[in-house]
Symmetry: C2
Subunit: 339 residues, 2 copies
Amino acid sequence: MRVLLAGGAGYVGTHTAIALIEAGHEPVLLDDLSNTSAVVTERIAEITGTSIPLVTGDAADDEVVEGAFDEHGPFEAIIHFAALKAVGESVQKPLEYYANNLDTTYALLRVGLARGITSFVFSSTGTVYSDPADLPFTEDATRNLVELSNPYSKSKLMNEVALTDVQKANPELNVTLLRYFNPVGAHESGLVGEDPKGIPNNLMPFVARVAVGKLPEIGIFGDDYDTPDGTGQRDYIHVVDLAEGHVKALEKAQPGLASYNLGTGNPVSVLELVASFEKAAGKDLPKSIKPRREGDLAATYCTPAKAERELGWKATRTIDDMTRDVWNWQQKNPGGYEG
Amino acid sequence: MRVLLAGGAGYVGTHTAIALIEAGHEPVLLDDLSNTSAVVTERIAEITGTSIPLVTGDAADDEVVEGAFDEHGPFEAIIHFAALKAVGESVQKPLEYYANNLDTTYALLRVGLARGITSFVFSSTGTVYSDPADLPFTEDATRNLVELSNPYSKSKLMNEVALTDVQKANPELNVTLLRYFNPVGAHESGLVGEDPKGIPNNLMPFVARVAVGKLPEIGIFGDDYDTPDGTGQRDYIHVVDLAEGHVKALEKAQPGLASYNLGTGNPVSVLELVASFEKAAGKDLPKSIKPRREGDLAATYCTPAKAERELGWKATRTIDDMTRDVWNWQQKNPGGYEG
């Protein structure tokens, strides 16, 4: 299957490209490189032995998407990873987040539908769920736009709703919404991994940078939550498991709409993640307790049973696998792709 | 106050332009004329004695909006009426509806914020509410994106949410969300009114076209609802009352977010509206009962108390005023502006 990966040079896109190649498919990357590097194509080639094309440009621009189809198509499917994704920044710059995260979807759909794609896979997020009463989240948990805490999550839910309506109006199209929980980890080779620009927004890359001495200490936002150790619990998922979920979703795609939670179903606390990382790195890491952040839930985790039942997919990698692979990646690439 | 009216040559925009001129303000129209006619500027001049500019172009195009500011600004405020608004069509063409109805907002905000507007008034809709348990709808009634029945209404709620976040990030900005119930009626002069292209989507213009013999009969979708006469009840509001609501909202605008229901608070049934129109026209109109339409609620009506309390605004025109003015407009303009 020939597949266009919009935002495909990013963290999840890169690992998905590798998984697609390994499963015999032909991914093509489209990315504006605003939060990643063209170096990823060399790394993908080193891992897989296969060189894949990278089109550099904005997935919100119809002409750019048309150019990708002209040059490298036809594509049977589009996987749409392209998004601004920093939760805190989204509160400061809501207009940029809404415009970018929705306009990319429109352009990819306009061109994709005109060019006859059969499947559109969308990178959504477990943060479309926000009601703790629904834990563990199934795919039918409440998705309440006006209750979500930030424009990033809201833009993802808006995309889900728009895609659902577009699918209804195009009954032959497959639309698959993949709700990621907390992707962490890196390819076991240590050649590709998460490389956020600036100060990382998420816990795992932050911990990794503390471990290599690039940041002074880990901030733990709240230790008085109603959880076993008082720190927030999340459903961390190894990015290679997540990537394999995309391959399964694509291979099982049927006309219609489908949504899947991609997580492990196991809540892991901040302290547990840090302890696992310390074990992997063989050293204690500086950390301190900070006040809770507005909008953070005590715990979020899913039931991934639907993906196992319908896609035959299940995350197999543990939190220790995740921290080991991040530590490996971070040590081999202390300054990221371009460091 | 100098005000840019995006979509200002449309039905509500035209009447609002007149009300603004009468209150001493200076409206400028920006419209792509996709669902109206440039003739409206002549009619506005005939009614008010004032010629106002019309910029022809797409409000989703930053360059067009910048051009309007360059040529006719600076503007203190933008009123954003520009939208695709046919509920049924929105189900068939969701991508066009989401892209158009959101991209116009982004472009108007990007340019407006860069040029220092102090107020942004948004044409929203009472259809952002969908839970009959909340009747009569206050501004705090449930707005549940995934429960709304069509992309038009969803695009309006998405806009509300995006605007709310943009206001939070720009605390000096006023954002006013005006939730229209069912605008009908026409200016009492009969010079301006509702002129939908093709077969009207809404009841009142449909009835008017039956009354002038341009359509064969009125379809009444369901007569077995749990309402006094079995037909659906709506909160019809005279467009001149609605236009005056915009003037009040603009004049009272303060930094912050505000939302107001603009309706009468009086539910009127389909049969009551038709009977009022028959009285105005002095003749019986052909009509027949059809099956219910999917997504229609039995009744929707609001509490307009907040607008009265905070804006000093209250609708004063009755259903008989509405049907009389529509009949007057339709007789004087049986083929619309360009007929």
